[in-house]
């Protein structure tokens, strides 16, 4: 149809506009530190797309963010704000690593799924508390999940530094310091990287790129979440409760149950956030486990307008930015902070642009609707009375 085509053009135009705007602001910052924005952008692009390793690195970096974005987006769909993805993935990773190092002698096809389940269970457990408090006691989930994040850090520290500190690091007494980590996760629970797989297609990915199957799991999960939300009865309940809990209850949807279930699913997904790093890269849980994915997940989800498939794109964007940041820092000697600033500016300009775009489409839809209503209404009774005065 004609308008579809026009919409597409508009969509592309807006997205480009947003990126151009972000680049413009970025240029100001770059010029401020006395560099030439053109060459900086050029080398950033060259670094990210012109190297065989960078693509893999981008996908690897975006993997946790896909899960984070999905977890947050799902909770938003039901009208809850899960700031707690952060704590949930910490506990998930903790649970996964305990199962990962302690269950010896299992074949990988049992051990690995068990570890992943443990991760999900950990995340779910950490989501359960705020969810129950919300449903039973009306405690505001924003407050409780923030608090649960801090508690998670402490719990993880207790487990890693006190309970399960890996004593097998044989240091000469008195010299140096052991790593503050749990025992290493057994091979049988490690997630294989995708080297062999991409090798089939003749792509040679350097060994040090840790891109692993969690990336694929993330994409499949995004599709699953998309289907859950848009194609299943439960998804319909999620959306209905999220948009109007009163009306939902009136038609017999038990909003509390929906809140609880959705929050638990969100927690379970959050439990997966850390596993790509844990099982595909680092190989052990330590006090230095990457932090902040939960918070970035909020930005990812909202950038994607809580759309599960959009989450993948938004996560990739962040992966690209982060990889680019490393390149700029190491090659162009641009402080990392400039890239952090760019990240903020890009989020802002993209949301502004997509907001403008959304509004444009909304009016378009309304217009079409009104037009069709008018035509369908006016063919019924044409005779009408004449002016009576």
């Amino acid at each position: 149809m004609n308008y579809k085509y026009k919409d597409w053009l508009m969509q592309i135009a807006f997205t480009f506009g947003a990126i151009l705007f972000a680049m413009f602001i970025g240029s100001l910052v770059i010029m401020f530190i006395g560099k030439n924005p053109i060459t900086v952008y050029q080398s950033m692009l060259q670094f990210t797309f012109g190297r065989s390793d960078s693509i893999g690195a981008i996908l690897f970096k975006s993997t946790p963010l896909i899960f984070a974005g999905l977890a947050v987006a799902l909770s938003f769909r039901v009208g809850l704000f899960n700031i707690g993805a952060e704590g949930q993935y910490f506990i998930g990773a903790l649970a996964a690593s305990i199962v990962g190092f302690s269950l010896q002698g299992l074949p990988w096809f049992i051990h690995l799924p068990l570890v992943i389940l443990a991760g999900m269970a950990g995340g779910m457990l950490w989501a359960l508390i705020p969810a129950l408090l919300k449903v039973k006691r009306g405690a505001h989930e924003v407050i409780t999940t923030i608090m649960m994040n801090y508690i998670a850090y402490s719990v993880v520290h207790y487990f890693v530094a006190d309970l399960f500190l890996d004593k097998a690091q044989n240091l000469p007494k008195g010299y140096g310091s052991p790593m503050v980590r749990m025992p290493k996760i057994l091979e049988s629970a490690r997630m294989p990287t995708m080297h062999d797989f991409v090798g089939i297609f003749g792509v040679e990915m350097p060994r040090y790129i840790y891109l692993n199957w969690f990336f694929v799991i993330g994409i499949l999960l995004a599709i699953a979440v998309y289907i859950l939300i848009w194609k299943t009865p439960f998804g319909m309940e999620i959306r209905a409760v999220g948009q109007n809990p009163h009306a939902s209850e009136t038609v017999g949807i038990q909003s509390k149950k929906v809140y609880l279930k959705t929050f638990l699913i969100s927690g379970a997904i959050a439990g997966l956030i850390g596993l790509s790093d844990l099982l595909g890269y680092i190989g052990y849980m330590d006090t230095d486990f990457p932090r902040g994915y939960g918070f970035t997940g909020i930005a990812v989800a909202l950038l994607a307008n809580n759309n599960a498939l959009g989450v993948v794109l938004a996560a990739l964007l962040f992966g690209f930015l982060r990889r680019g940041a490393e390149g700029l820092q190491a090659i162009e000697q641009i402080p990392m902070d400039v890239v952090v600033i760019l990240e903020g500016v890009i989020i802002l300009s993209i949301v502004v642009a997509s907001q403008l775009m959304r509004r444009y489409f909304k009016t378009q839809e309304k217009k079409r609707e009104k037009e069709s209503q008018k035509t369908s209404a006016s063919d019924g009774d044409k005779e009408g009375l004449e002016n009576v005065e």
Partner: protein, 343 residues
């Protein structure tokens, strides 16, 4: 800043016609400006640059706030042909282990971390310190100086590295005065614990208010809160890693009894010198009391304060070097050590 200066010098080819050696350094989270650990590493780098000028080219990087890209940053340096790359902190252990195999031609310096089975031929050198010994001395100093018979310790996170500081400090204090009261506490449970001066100050105040008159910290930038509290309550504090008397504010200076020096700067500097002179050797470099790798600081600001105890500290130092005193490295050892004092 100095970073740009360094860069500007670099492109000019060395007059000898030789390529300058490229030295890289990746900081621990927190990075430059913590006035202790990271800054010491930087000081070593800077000193080398100052002395070798055109012969070397330096670059330092700071990992993302979450710290998850340490390995990537180091790899990028390695790929760009850096000759020697430092990882500041034991968190780099695993990464350097991997990278040293990936890049056999690049040399790595690992501070605080221990990789087993290194030899002189390895391309990694572990730079290790006996923080507990240095801490023992400042613990003794604190016990000697305390008027209330009560001192304190503030650590960032409770991890083996910091507990080494704690155990050594307590042992030193007990050694001088077995009956001394020691309060000990930690700031937090994440890396943020090393950059929370607000809690640092409140924790210090709470220890001072409960009787301590000297507090030693091993808490990175959080320690600045300790100095503030020392001024407020009119008590003494002991710095860590660097000679902190030199970096605190004027008002705080008179409240810094001494600092436990951990000469990361020396370690970094020496390693660079070795490389430049062609003497680089892999394996383990131990920086203990004997090597002046750790120790207590005496400077223009605290000389008077320390005058009456320096002799005694030197005696203790000698005993440790001689092996007469074996300083505990963790809490278990400390309990034994304390028990042995009782006899």
């Amino acid at each position: 800043g100095s970073k740009d200066d360094a860069k500007q010098d670099a492109p000019a080819p060395a007059p000898t016609g030789e390529e300058p050696l490229k030295i890289g350094l990746v900081f621990d989270v927190g990075g430059r400006g913590d006035l202790s650990f990271n800054d010491m590493a930087y000081a070593g780098l800077e000193r080398a640059k100052l002395e070798y000028g055109d012969k070397i080219e330096i670059e330092y990087l700071e990992p993302a706030g979450s710290g998850d890209n340490r390995e990537e940053l180091m790899r990028l340096l390695a790929q760009q042909g850096y000759d020697l790359i430092f990882g500041v902190g034991f968190m780099f252990t695993e990464h350097i282990d991997k990278l040293s195999k990936e890049f056999p031609d690049v040399k790595f310096g690992l501070i605080d971390g221990y990789i087993p089975d290194l030899t002189a031929d390895s391309n990694v050198v572990s730079l290790l310190f006996t923080e507990h010994e240095g801490s023992f001395l400042v613990g003794a100093a604190a016990a000697l100086k305390s008027e209330n018979n009560s001192i304190g310790f503030i650590g960032g996170m409770q991890i083996p590295l910091i507990q080494k500081f704690e155990a050594g400090y307590m042992a030193g204090a007990y050694y001088v005065n077995p009956d001394i009261k020691i309060q000990s506490d930690y700031i937090g449970t994440t890396g943020d614990a090393f950059r929370d001066p607000v809690k640092g100050r409140e924790l210090a105040l709470s220890q001072y208010q409960r009787g301590a008159d000297i507090i030693y910290h091993a808490a990175g930038a959080s320690g600045t809160g300790l100095f503030e509290a020392a001024v407020q309550t009119g008590n003494l504090a002991i710095g860590v890693d660097a000679d902190q008397s030199l970096t605190v504010s004027e008002a705080q200076r008179s409240h810094v009894l001494t600092s436990m020096m951990k000469r990361v700067d020396v370690a970094v500097y020496n390693t660079i010198v070795d490389l430049v002179e062609g003497n680089f050797e892999g394996g383990y470099h131990m920086f203990g009391l004997a090597e002046e790798g750790v120790g207590y600081a005496v400077n223009d600001f605290n000389r008077e304060m320390m005058a009456d105890i320096v002799d005694e500290l030197e005696v203790i130092k000698g005993k440790i070097i001689d092996g007469e005193i074996v300083v505990p490295v963790d809490m278990e050892d400390l309990a034994e050590f304390k028990a042995s004092l009782g006899n």
